[in-house]
């Protein structure tokens, strides 16, 4: 237990410089705007006073390093600035839209793991068989078919032609679970399908790797049924690297969720950042980018900790 906690603390500590870099990158985004960012954000009706205020609020009235420090300071206070279009603090805008994105992400993850892990393990266990070949071809297709295009095809098939599921929209789980499930089914499946392909491939190679290990040969030599070999020994050990992979695919999942939200008209962070971009609402763009990076790092940290928990060797690296 102590070792895991120490490991966790060490990893947290190592994250600090990375977080600094992330924040700096987010800070620099506004400065990459060609021309005067204030004029772009406020538009031409702004009078001198408003421009002055905005310049001060965005911190653009000081030298770059002073601005950076000020940015960090405000961030530590939890102040992400104010949305110009929505007329509210960015943190509030993010909070209002976090639920749909989170629901979508975890539904997608659930689908991805549900499809990917078993198929990958099965393919690895029966390596070389027709089943293996079929699964791996599907997995390749899953990786190559663009997620958003798949979504469109799903909508065409299941909503337009068959009429089984709604075309787009969102209902909160807390308000109407049945409707929420209906709305979330297509988005989650199309999001999860692409991820599942990745997971399946990795799961397969992990399984193959594990099956080659000595202790498996021993188990087989001992006369254990193939089934038990697979389930009792190989499966559990193959799961460990798969957990790591799930963490890695979360990054892609966050990105995929953004796109899926647009296709299915889900009012989450994805739609927020796209409309913020169209409206030149840069504080919101910064906020979304920052929060997704933070979320990604957090997820990776959690995955590492789980990994350390399962595999004792990691803790002492």
């Amino acid at each position: 237990m102590i070792a895991v906690t120490t490991y966790l603390l060490r990893r947290l500590f190592a994250l600090v410089p990375v977080m600094l870099v992330v924040v700096t990158i987010v800070f620099l985004l506004i400065h990459l705007i060609p021309g005067d960012p204030v004029a772009v954000i406020l538009g031409p009706e702004a009078n001198a006073q408003q421009i002055e205020d905005a310049r001060r609020e965005l911190g653009l009235d000081r030298p770059l390093h002073a601005q950076l420090v000020r940015f960090y300071a405000r961030l530590l206070r939890g102040d992400l600035g104010r949305s110009y279009f929505l007329d509210r603090p960015v943190t509030q805008a993010l909070w209002e839209r976090a639920e749909p994105t989170l629901v979508l992400m975890f539904s997608g993850l659930f689908v991805a793991v549900l499809i990917g892990v078993p198929s990958g393990i099965a393919a690895g266990a029966y390596q070389g068989s027709a089943w293996d070949r079929l699964l791996m071809m599907l997995a390749l297709l899953g990786v190559c078919v663009p997620g958003f295009w798949l979504s469109l095809n799903f909508i065409y098939l299941f909503s337009v032609r068959l009429g089984w599921l709604p075309v787009a929209g969102y209902a909160s789980i807390f308000q109407d679970p049945v409707a929420a499930a209906r709305y979330m089914l297509l988005p989650a499946v199309s999001l999860g399908f692409s991820q599942s392909a990745l997971i399946a491939r990795i799961a397969r190679s992990c399984m193959i790797e594990v099956l080659r290990q000595d202790y498996i040969r021993t188990a087989r030599a001992k006369g254990l049924a193939e089934r038990s070999v697979i389930y009792l020994h190989a499966f559990r050990n193959a799961l460990v690297p798969v957990v790591t992979v799930i963490g890695i695919t979360m990054a892609i999942l966050i990105g995929g969720a953004v796109v899926t939200e647009i296709v299915f008209n889900i009012p989450g962070l994805g739609r927020l950042i796209i409309s913020a971009i169209l409206r030149r609402d840069y504080p919101v763009v910064q906020g979304v980018v920052l929060i997704t990076a933070a979320a990604y790092m957090l997820i990776n940290l959690l995955v590492d900790v789980v990994y350390a928990f399962i595999d004792p060797r990691i803790r002492y690296v």
């Binding site: 410089p17 990375v18 600094l20 870099v21 992330v22 700096t24 990158i25 985004l29 506004i30 990459l32 705007i33 060609p34 390749l140 297709l141 990786v143 190559c144 078919v145 663009p146 958003f148 295009w149 469109l152 095809n153 909508i155 065409y156 337009v160 990054a251 892609i252 966050i254 990105g255 995929g256 953004v258 796109v259 647009i262 296709v263 950042i273 796209i274 913020a276 971009i277 169209l278 840069y282 763009v285 910064q286 979304v288 980018v289 997704t292 990076a293 990604y296 790092m297």
Partner: protein, 281 residues
């Protein structure tokens, strides 16, 4: 010509089925993109208002969109944008990755800083960082290329760096250093050759990511301007008319899938043959 003189890796490459299939399909796509002007039956940006939403037929092999633009021509010319973005991004990330990776692998003090910056960049989900960069720079092909290059650069840099680190401690490198050879020479003569395999594999996948990312950006409306033929743009316009004319989105999507398939196959095949670390028995 004896067996021994043909390089082993070339023979291995050509024997790998994935490389052959993936590579030839990809080559075909490149040729199509290069000769799009000749191959395309119509000017892709030409609007024919009277011909809107025609299904695939004699006049328009793949049908038309809502402005009467020929889908086949749009797909052919869209290949240009996609492959251009993919290629230039690949070149920029590889070149940049090599430079940064070598510096990081070789100079320990700079390494610390560079590593953190790369980690920072990789902490952002790729498409979100790309979207944010497009937001601040504005639409346009060049901005797409630069944004994607920034997003994918860290992957290549890390790869080169780790190879550089592992090679640095090898005997012959230490010997070369003892002999007074400069860092640059060592980098080129000893480190780089070991990187080429993994680099090529990585580059192939980055090409694939970039093509897909460009399409996503176009679809979201933050890529190249909407009237420039690009697979993402056409899919986006097809989304509105998916009931009446599913072919508008279908064909560019197929083209994207095919490109992705060929590149992934190629990459897998290259990895199997060229990357000693990941070679399977």
């Amino acid at each position: 010509m004896s067996e021994a003189s043909a390089p082993g890796w070339a023979r291995r490459l050509l024997r790998n089925r994935a490389v052959v299939i993936g590579g030839s399909v990809f080559l075909l796509l490149v040729l199509i993109a290069l000769f799009a002007d000749v191959l395309a039956p119509y000017n892709p940006t030409r609007l024919y208002p009277g011909e809107r939403l025609r299904p695939p037929g004699a006049r328009n092999l793949l049908g038309t969109d809502e402005f009467g633009r020929d889908i086949a021509s749009l797909v052919l010319h869209g290949a240009r944008v996609s492959l251009l973005v993919g290629a230039v991004t690949m070149v920029l990330t590889s070149a940049g990755g090599v430079v940064i990776g070598l510096i990081a692998g070789y100079y320990r003090r700079l390494d610390l800083v560079i590593m953190r910056v790369m980690d920072g960049l990789m902490a952002f989900p790729a498409i979100l960082l790309a979207i944010a960069l497009m937001a601040v720079r504005g639409p346009g092909v060049w901005n797409v290329i630069v944004s994607l290059s920034v997003v994918y650069l860290p992957r290549t840099a890390m790869l080169i760096r780790s190879t550089a680190l592992s090679v640095r401690e090898l005997d012959y490198v230490l010997a070369a250093q003892a002999l007074g050879r400069g860092g640059l020479a060592i980098a080129f003569r000893h480190i780089l050759p070991n990187c080429i395999g993994p680099l090529l594999v990585q580059a192939t996948f980055i090409f694939a990511y970039a093509v897909l990312a460009e399409a996503i950006l176009g679809f979201l409306g933050v890529g190249v301007p909407p009237y420039v033929p690009s697979w993402g743009n056409v899919i986006a316009s097809g989304k509105n008319v998916i009931r009446e004319a599913f072919w508008v989105s279908a064909f560019p999507g197929l083209a994207l899938t095919l490109t992705g398939l060929s590149l992934n196959l190629l990459g897998d095949g290259l990895r199997d043959t060229l990357d000693p670390r990941l070679r399977r028995e």
